[in-house]
Amino acid sequence: MSRKLLLANDHVEGIRRLDVYRKHGGYNALEKALKTMTPEQIVEEVKASGLRGRGGAGFPTGMKWSFLAKPEGVARYLVCNADESEPGTFKDRYLMERIPHALIEGMIASSFALGARTSYIYIRGEYFYVANILEEAIAEAYEAGLLGKNILNSGFDHDCYVQVGAGAYICGEETALLESLEGKRGNPRIKPPFPAIAGLYGCPTVVNNVETIAAVVPIIQMTGAEYAKIGVGKSTGTKLISASGHINKPGVYEIELGVPVEEFIYSDAYCGGIRNGKQLKAVVAGGSSVPILPAHLILKTASGEPRLMTYESLSDGGFATGTMLGSGGFIVMDEDTSIVKNLWNFSRFYHHESCGQCSPCREGTGWMEKILHNIVEGHGTPEDVELLWDIQGKIEGKTICPLGDAAAWPVASAIRHFKDEFMQYVTRPQSIKDVKHYYRVHQLAEA
């Protein structure tokens, strides 16, 4: 069984409350940080831990922190990215809802390390009830002297606020998030300048995912060196995986990085195998944006090695035969799933969520959705498949933010690995009506 650092106490009764959280060692790390460490030492520990951003891109957190500009007399901000809108991802919700203080403690300790007097948690609007849970936790923390002036007599002052979004996937992109936090439309900014130089209100800002910030707590507690011993190679520590789709046990699992994918899918400690005794067809391993892989390539790399749940192993083979760990949104599809129909669903999502600033993304996502809809409805031609391939290639890398890439990769990978299925749709449209694709709700009730 994997070691748990973030969710060790998720089932403890009342762990949402400050007193219970403290009884289980909560805020010890903050106390250690404020009383025995300098901000620089904390940054060094985070560097030593090898922690990588858990929001999707996997950028080394310690390095990001050390880029933060520190001009004299200018405010610095820590902003927590709790937008969590990548389809297939629901780990941050789980963590915040169950153990809100784990995030609050991480926010305070990280802010101390960064010299941020104020921090904001930007949470997607649909998580309104979770925002209220965080507000309650923050109020408790103020009352206990863990927020506000002179925290734990350390001389460190800090205020933390929750900001709700209002429904826009793009606001998970860090510069769109900052725009939204400033009260504007969520249009991503052109980089550079990076937020570390000019972020919120033009001030130096660090944006980190919920899970990244929460992971700072055990790192302070156990030291970076100890944290780095967990995992494989450059994939250190534990990771929350949101598992969904056609599996027996969907849910959020904290794994030590390095668990074999096969074990993750079939072991009763995790997904518990495919629903209704069906065969595995494909997996989207890191949220809807990452390339889809067919069963044989998700279980083993092209060179026949067992595929592991690590940043490196999942991307082994590049996009030709690999994928990405991404946000850890692990969507499993069984043998009855139509890859073409699922792709149409994804493409509709990206078209709906494109902010519209960049023409390749704004026009391309709509075009891909329409073509796929045509194909799904039985009106597609082989040329349409060629055209899809062409369009996705003209979006990737040609937009201000990576939403364009996120829209292109699912299309490219589906065509790369499931070309036959596309050809069936466009050459034998009469066979489409026999494709089952999704479970009927009454079947679920019986299962």
Partner: protein, 179 residues
């Protein structure tokens, strides 16, 4: 003169929200205040409501319109008391979201995007709400209804009807003012 104005309690909440941001950056309160206004004024944002919110922040009305129209949670048209928002994205769809949508359409006699004649229900489809492990799901007001079956949906509709009250996102909880 705009007819619309927050009551005393809502105005206090609004002021507390505005106090979270540095001087000169009050515009950051726009999205939270639009949420508050939507909850206060029948679940949608009329031009008058947006003008009022803009006036509270001393910004141009167009700044409120352009933001309100960007985000999917803001309704720019009147909606029913209960907006049923069914997730239509991948994991939910793989597990029967389409059945849920069709079932509600039949039960309420409306299509996606429409409101029942009695003004009780509006049916919407939305993108992944972070509930994929408990698919299929729908949201109504702030509440998540997960692991749906058609029976559960019927039950929910009956209960909401009986209760009869408007389901809006809750007003933001009170926040701590700068220490």
């Amino acid at each position: 003169m705009s007819q619309i104005a927050f009551n005393e309690e809502a105005l206090k909440t609004a002021q507390r929200i505005i106090a979270r941001y540095p001087k000169g950056k009050e515009k950051s309160a726009l999205i939270p205040l639009l949420h508050l206004a939507q909850a206060e004024f029948d679940g949608w944002l009329s031009p008058e409501t947006m003008d009022y919110v803009a006036s509270l922040l001393s910004i141009q009305s167009i700044e409120a319109y352009e933001v309100a129209s960007f985000y999917s949670m803001f309704n720019l048209q009147p909606v029913g008391k209960c907006v049923l928002e069914v997730c239509r994205t991948s994991s939910c769809w793989l597990l029967g979201a389409e059945d849920v949508v069709r079932h509600i359409e039949k039960r309420l006699g409306i299509h996606v995007g429409e409101t029942t004649a009695d003004g009780m229900f509006t049916l919407k489809t939305v993108e992944c709400l972070g509930s994929c492990g408990t698919a299929p799901m729908l949201q109504c007001g702030a509440d998540y209804y997960e692991n749906l079956t058609l029976e559960k949906v019927d039950n929910l509709i009956a209960n909401l009807k009986q209760d009869g009250s408007r389901r809006t996102y809750p007003k933001p909880a009170p926040v701590k003012i700068e220490s």
